[in-house]
C-alpha cells in the first residue's frame, strides 16, 4: 500500500513538470545531426500591406515581402509564408504576441508556440536528408541561406528555413513530430 502511494505521489510530482514533445531528441549519423530544438514563442501573422510598417516596428524584425525569404534580428525570425502571411519565431524569450497587441492597424496574430515542434538538421548531408521527403530544389542557388518556405516532407506539411549553408530548421505540427523525426532519422541513415 505504502509503495503504491509513494508511486502515485511521484507520478503526481512528475506531471507538474513540462515535457515538450520529443524533448532532447537527438540523432547523429556520419553526415547529419538531427536535434529537437528547445521550445520557442511563435505567432502566425496575417496582415495587409498597410499594416506592415507598424508591425515591423512593434516586432523589431522586418516582415519580408519577397517570396521564400526570411528576416532575423536578435533571436527573432520572420518567415514569409504567403503574400499576407508570416510565421514569427522568437527564441530569445520575448513575446511577439504581446508586441503585436499594441498595433492599431488591421492584423491577425495567433499564438502557435505549442502547435509546432522544431527540428534542426545540420551537417554535410543535411539537404540530402530533407530531400528524401521534400520535393523542393534545396541547392544553394535555389534555396540560399535565409530562404524559408512552407512545403511537404513525406506526407506532412512542414515549414523549412535554411539558417546556414548546411543547417536547416524544420518546423512541423506537434502531433506530426514523431513521424517527422522518424522520417528524418531514416533519411539521415540512408544519406550517410
Amino acid at each position: 500500500m505504502a509503495k503504491a502511494a509513494a508511486k502515485r505521489s511521484a507520478s503526481a510530482a512528475a506531471s507538474i513538470e513540462r515535457h515538450p514533445a520529443l524533448a532532447g531528441g537527438e540523432v547523429t549519423t556520419a553526415g547529419v545531426r538531427l536535434a529537437v530544438l528547445p521550445p520557442a514563442e511563435r505567432i502566425s501573422l496575417r496582415a495587409p500591406e498597410a499594416s506592415i510598417t507598424a508591425l515591423t516596428r512593434a516586432l523589431g524584425v522586418s516582415l519580408p515581402k519577397a517570396p521564400k525569404t526570411s528576416a532575423a534580428k536578435a533571436g527573432r525570425t520572420a518567415l514569409w509564408l504567403g503574400p499576407d502571411e508570416w510565421l514569427v519565431i522568437d527564441e530569445a524569450g520575448g513575446d511577439p504576441l504581446a508586441d503585436c497587441a499594441g498595433v492599431k492597424g488591421l492584423h491577425s496574430a495567433v499564438g502557435i508556440s505549442h502547435r509546432n515542434v522544431a527540428i534542426s538538421v545540420s551537417g554535410r548531408q543535411a539537404a540530402d536528408t530533407i530531400n528524401a521527403g521534400c520535393p523542393q530544389d534545396l541547392s544553394l542557388a535555389a534555396f540560399p541561406v535565409g530562404a524559408a518556405s512552407r512545403t511537404v516532407l513525406g506526407k506532412v506539411e512542414i515549414v523549412l528555413l535554411r539558417t546556414q549553408e548546411d543547417t536547416f530548421r524544420v518546423e512541423c505540427w506537434r502531433s506530426f513530430s514523431d513521424y517527422v523525426l522518424a522520417f528524418l532519422t531514416k533519411a539521415a541513415t540512408d544519406a550517410a
Binding site: 517570396p67 521564400k68 503574400p83 502571411e85 520535393p135 523542393q136 518556405s149 512552407r150 512545403t151 511537404v152
Partner: protein, 98 residues
C-alpha cells in the same frame, strides 16, 4: 513530377505542393432563389470537360496557400500558363500561334 509556376511565389514548384480546385471562371449567380432548376443544374453540376485547353483553379496549399488560375492541356497534361486569382481569362495563350 510536374513543376507548376505559382504566380504568388513567382517560381516553379513541385506538383506535390498543389491541389486542384475545379474549373475556373464560373460566376456565382447573384439571385439563386430565382433560378430555374435547369439553370441551377447548369451552374452547379455541369462542367465543360474539354479535350484540350482547360481553365482551372489550383491552390498552392502546401506553399503560399493561395488560389490561382491555370491553363492546362488535358491531352498532354502540360500547364500552358498560370495567373493570379481575379485576373481576367487570358485571350491569347503563349505559344498558341495567331
Amino acid at each position: 513530377m510536374l513543376l507548376i509556376h505559382c504566380p504568388y511565389c513567382e517560381e516553379e514548384r513541385p506538383e506535390l505542393e498543389f491541389r486542384h480546385a475545379g474549373e475556373a471562371h464560373i460566376a456565382r449567380p447573384t439571385d439563386m432563389a430565382a433560378m430555374s432548376d435547369e439553370d441551377f443544374e447548369k451552374f452547379f453540376f455541369i462542367r465543360s470537360n474539354p479535350k484540350g485547353v482547360i481553365y482551372e483553379r489550383w491552390r498552392h496549399v502546401h506553399g503560399c496557400a493561395r488560389f490561382f488560375n491555370a491553363v492546362r492541356d488535358t491531352v498532354t497534361d502540360k500547364f500552358v500558363m498560370t495567373y493570379k486569382a481575379g485576373e481576367p481569362q487570358p485571350k491569347k495563350l503563349p505559344g498558341a500561334g495567331k
